[in-house]
Symmetry: D4
Subunit: 254 residues, 8 copies
């Protein structure tokens, strides 16, 4: 709870500008709006700097549209990930201006004036097949205000392809490194830069890759310090964290 708001509310109670019952009610219920099946947390933007991003995979087309409608009304934007085909169709019908990125299955709309992108998040992908996850990370970081670039197909089996981009790697404020199979790329990148590296294992591979577990374990055991890891295929989480790192807090009071 924000102490300043708490102080203001308490002072209102002290001066009888606010009744005790109303104060209790505000303290407890205010920040939440109930939309039937989902309690949409409209305070989340205040608290976390981003309106509720919606994970589309487990929701019906109708639920996605309803949630998006509320979010758009409150925040002038929404950002839905892992949209299934049915959901995408329903959303594009409801919001013809929304943009659907078929590779990463992100469906988003932002009606605010375009913000200036700042800093630099570099998303690096080991192989062509890691592309969807890399795009999810790229779009997420960009939606959160980060100037973002994508560098693809620079896996460790041809190490010179990666080394050719060393300067680009070193110029980023934060890096997202996406790889499947043995997941070795973040270790190599982490040894080349002095910036935070967020590793994203992908489910690309077969047999003993166990749907991305091999890459996940490889990244958790990276011999390069400065590497942190998100869940398998979680491009959204990686892009989100990279954008938080990339954000310039210097002009804000801490």
């Amino acid at each position: 709870m924000d102490p300043k708001k708490l102080e203001s509310l308490l002072r209102d109670v002290q001066t009888n500008a606010l009744s005790v019952d109303e104060a209790i009610s505000r303290l407890v219920h205010m920040p939440i709006r109930d939309v039937g099946h989902s309690q949409i947390d409209t305070h989340r933007e205040l608290r976390c700097g981003f309106p509720e991003a919606v994970f589309g995979a487990g929701k019906s087309a109708r639920e996605i549209v309803e949630i998006a409608t509320v979010l758009l009304a409150e925040h002038d934007r929404f950002f839905v990930t892992r949209v299934h085909d049915e959901g995408a169709e329903a959303m594009l019908q409801a919001f013809p201006n929304a943009e659907f990125h078929a590779r990463s299955r992100i469906l988003a709309l932002d009606q605010r004036p375009a913000p200036a992108l700042t800093g630099k998040v570099l998303v690096v992908a080991a192989g062509t097949s890691d592309g969807p996850v890399a795009e999810e990370a790229t779009l997420t970081a960009r939606a959160l205000g980060a100037d973002t670039e994508l560098l693809e197909d620079v896996g460790v089996a041809g190490i010179h392809r990666l080394l050719a981009h060393t300067e680009r790697l070193r110029a980023a404020r934060a890096l997202v490194v996406v790889a499947g199979m043995e997941g070795a790329l973040p270790s190599v990148v982490g040894g080349l830069v002095d910036r935070p590296v967020i590793a994203v294992p992908t489910s690309v591979g077969y047999g003993a890759s166990f749907g991305g577990v091999a890459a996940l374990l490889g990244m958790l055991n990276s011999c390069s310090a400065g590497v942190t890891v998100v869940n398998i295929d979680n491009g959204f989480g990686a892009g989100y964290a990279a954008a938080l790192i990339n954000r310039d807090y210097s002009s804000r009071e801490l």
Copy 2:
């Protein structure tokens, strides 16, 4: 390879200030010094901003002392983690000014003038037993120049203990959250702040905690965006990454 150095070297070749053979030699061998069993990468500080930190667990007391001697000569400091008793004894004999932190088993020496600590890294630990890992993270971040604080024993089973510190949580530039058992703390913290959260699972627990796997999986599946994860008990990695995030790059050319 640094293009500026490469250019300078090539220009020396062009002007015959440097022979071709010498140029080849420099290009290939220069950044590495061989100390017998370990090839100590003395370029690492340039590349990654920190002289080689040494993982003590798999090395003999003699090896640790030898490596530390080289590092101290080159960098005026060393930072050894997971030092076993024998190693600690040998090191303190060799370097009486070094400091040994028994709880986290870190043994470090920094002979440079004390640098000004900047920013704010907050290390949060769920329980008393998570202390050693939390201390490893704290000392690492501090050694890398971050102003660092430690907040202990605020696990989710008594959620009000944590909420009492909400403002402190929100004031940090980067957070390290350390927890064993079900590893739920980073999710709750991640929902309270808009800063990057690095989650560290610990091996605290028994039975189906599987030496920290339960906490690790919980953290990888965190429902809070902005949470990234390091290996079980890897306080060093978390502190390292947090310090990179915390660092103010605005005054440096990218």
Copy 3:
């Protein structure tokens, strides 16, 4: 075996009201009726307080209808879980008065006079996607006579959404807490109440959630005492156990 029935039977033997052969037969075969493929245990209601609930997933439509027919004749009700589409269709044709809950895939009919619901079981779900399992728990507990409520979308990433309902949590006789991903919600709820909490991991999540294993491990390692766990997605088992806990045994001889 019920000692009273045993005594009565033995007395009948003593008085020759029952032949020895018949006594053997009754002792061994009486409580069981054979329906070909399934031996329906019609004594189960006496023993466990609930007529045999049927797990529909592994059975053909025809088998489900046959079993339901026998149960309805004996008990005036049936309660089938995990009904596949084909089974639901066949059942609704055979029993037009039965109710099919599509979200939780429960198909039930109770022709007895509506019993008074007692106590209070609160089912809490972390996210919208946990809804089907939460509904399975709710309907099961209600079918077993518990007054039951459902509280949805109060996951730990927005902890204030949950805290706003603290009093409702504390008013329940037993709680069922349903969560996927990291499964942290039962730990937080368990720290807020002094009533038994039954945790249900769901298979909601992706990657290293391993179909609910991450949530399951998180719950088994809960730092809150008083939390017990059922199988992944097992809303039925949780609702059943909660109803047993909720039941008022004070008026019954023990």
Copy 4:
């Protein structure tokens, strides 16, 4: 937070009986006392009905004694589980009246007048080797006010040993069933009673028992409804939950 206390506090603010600053302070800091390494939550008894039970395994002898001292001062009792030898020795020196149960490694002291035990919790153990865990459950439930009994060595390989106690099983308000190896006992017990059964897998076994995982999985997959599960060897959690179930809430306002 308790609405009544909140109301009372707010009324004090309204009447100026309490300053705003003091109100803020009370709202945020009051329920917590800091003992250096551990923030002992002295409100926990109010919230959860039991003063903080201490998990001894991960703490030094000194830490255990310090925490116990605070708890005893506040609550006239403490209850420490998994005490190592060094801790037990230190505790018995500090608290000569405390009782140490060597089999279950519980060390407890209760200086309050002995409370009347109520209800009936039956702890059932499959084999002799499951004894320590069964004792941990028994002592925990008893410390929480439950009249508790222990029934040992009634594993499923000799099913008649168990059936001989059917009436005792059926007379309990709640049952804790402890088993290692294949963990089948809770399923059989669950089929004989209509009361809640809490299953505790133990690490008894070898080879593919994987330190209790086989028993844990067996219990999670029990074909008997009404069975819930706690972590491997977690006798404390099972006894705690059983005591909560056993408690008579009828005389308390809900």
Copy 5:
């Protein structure tokens, strides 16, 4: 190699009834017939008492028919398990007299005079859903000459259903016990009889049953001696082993 055949062959060499080259050839190549993709081992009946049973799952319809044709020519019978729909159709077209058991997906033909079945193999199944695997075991044991019976739906949650059949259990020469979920049934049966029990875990269950792993581990850790285990859903292997145990070797030279 059969010493008698070896001796006879060597004697033929000694007496020049057989040339050395021919002897080499016979020693090496004789027992094997090549059918292109599969080397059908027509000596297997001699060695193992059963003509090659064919695992249909990984083979094309054409391959199955070709192999069956060879087997029928050599042995007057074939026995194909796990036949997919396409394979079943092709086989029934090729062999109209063959019998297809849809539940267990076995397709077999035996043109020999019906052999007298001997001994007694009892196949016991815990639930209705375990039926297909139980039938596979039953048909396999019968095809190998064992008099076989099937007892279904006697799971441990209603232990009296099983106990009602104690005498039948005790009358068998060998038992196959089929169960999914927690796989406890073999332990209980093993405690009731003094005959070998072969346990078959099935993939029946959900969540943490992990496709039969829970049942498998339960059975491997059975507290009843005399229980051995086969692979998940491997009714064939269990029926085969039971038939070998059941076989009367007393009239045969060893």
Copy 6:
């Protein structure tokens, strides 16, 4: 329950030779004797053909001696497996005539007249390191009346060592095949004989043998029919099952 005893007991009730109360008591309590910590099932020999064999690993020296004393009094023999050093010492002091087999850690005493060993159980071990488990199987089968032989160090990497013993393999009534590492031996043996093969995985190996899991999985997936499996290192269970198979039931009524 034995129908004959049941009939006799019921007839006694019918003729008033036995009171109803006494009959209830006998039906329920008779076969069990309570020794404090362990309920020793003295009916087990009747039911399972072997007095309770004791698993020594989880029991104290005192417990083992007490249980052995009861067993010896009832059955003139005992058979304790996995005896730790302390237990062995105490037992040999208490029973100087007992025999301790240090390699397999079995401690046994049989005061009955030596029974004639029958049939043939062949225990086959892949390597020298599998010896302890093989000896456990051998001694167990022999204690149960089977004529038993041991064939060691015939692993599959030198297949001719095994083939040299083909006739011995084929002469056994039942085989126990013990192997660590990849556990391939039972598959090869199973292809050479037409008798039941019981496979015992051992924990011999390192790295990805995972304490015997690799061998266990190999054996469960054996391509040879007729192979069944017991738990890792479970020589006792394998020897027990082999003895049951080996037993000649032809002279007994079924």
Copy 7:
């Protein structure tokens, strides 16, 4: 980097035959060609002796055709594995001379004059179902210039089928051994030959074969030295490695 090329380039700089800027550019960018989504490494043939083989599984039909077009232009050949139906159709339309191997799903074209095959790689498969993987290994090794043979259906359950081919086994320069289920074949083969054996586990099997994990573990734990392992179903990797081993390096400078 090739020292000779480096020297030549540096000499060109020294003599001003090459500008410094151009030298930098060549050093860094030359070996890589960008095709939009994939950076095709056209230097790979020089470095690794084989033009980039394409893994078709994760790529769209259009991507496969584009990549193949570039490869064909540069190398006069391509070799695509795991081609899905859509990809095969598109490729055959684009390259009517290409050959599609439906069993192993390899689609390849080589427009160079047919090279002389050298050495001998023997691919051995345990069962009919292992055929697709064995064919993938065979075609890969052949494409890399190895004279290759295939020996199928010689699994360990009929060990004489394998032994009949001992001389063929011993004549190979390198062996690839393909097996599913328990994966025992490489151990047996490894004991018969003194050449390198590459083991390929296949996902053939069911239940506790865990999609090839059982075979993989078996092979990693092989008791035969000289056996190395590739990923489950990775016939390509095995054939590739075998061809490298088989290659005659004697005529090349090392």
Copy 8:
């Protein structure tokens, strides 16, 4: 079996130079010598090119000495791996000329004239801690006649340390690459050379390295073709396979 020996033996039978009985005996028993607990396969050198190397870990000091004595008598050398301290002491007492390598725990003696080492096996190790396994590989390959070099501490986090040795890597006939943690080194090396790479995962690491499983999975999923893998810490197997690959078969008849 060697056809030439078989032919010669059969011809002796034909000419009565050998009796049939003797021929049977020779065919079956000749190549094996029994030393009590171990059947030492003295034909193994003929078959596999190396006298039986002994795995010391699971054997007693006495057993090791006995086996070594036989091997020395037959082959003038022995090579024992994983010797425990007690075994090393006993061996050095029995064979004072033997050499004990404490780091890799190899104890070997070769009394033959020193053979000329041929070819080139390069053993590459990622970190100092991987040294023992790398030494085991080096000594094994050398004992098998390969000219062997060791390159240490060139892990991927400092990729330039490795690249500085590119020519050395490319000059080897076969490479063994040893790495713990994420196990990425073989992928990078495999992309730099066109020779076979044998990857050895080590148990170096902590937490989610799971004793080497992370490295093992990383290597199995290597994106570089030509990489094959051995068991965790299996330096012996890697060195053995590398020596087989390195061997020049061109001068030998195949």
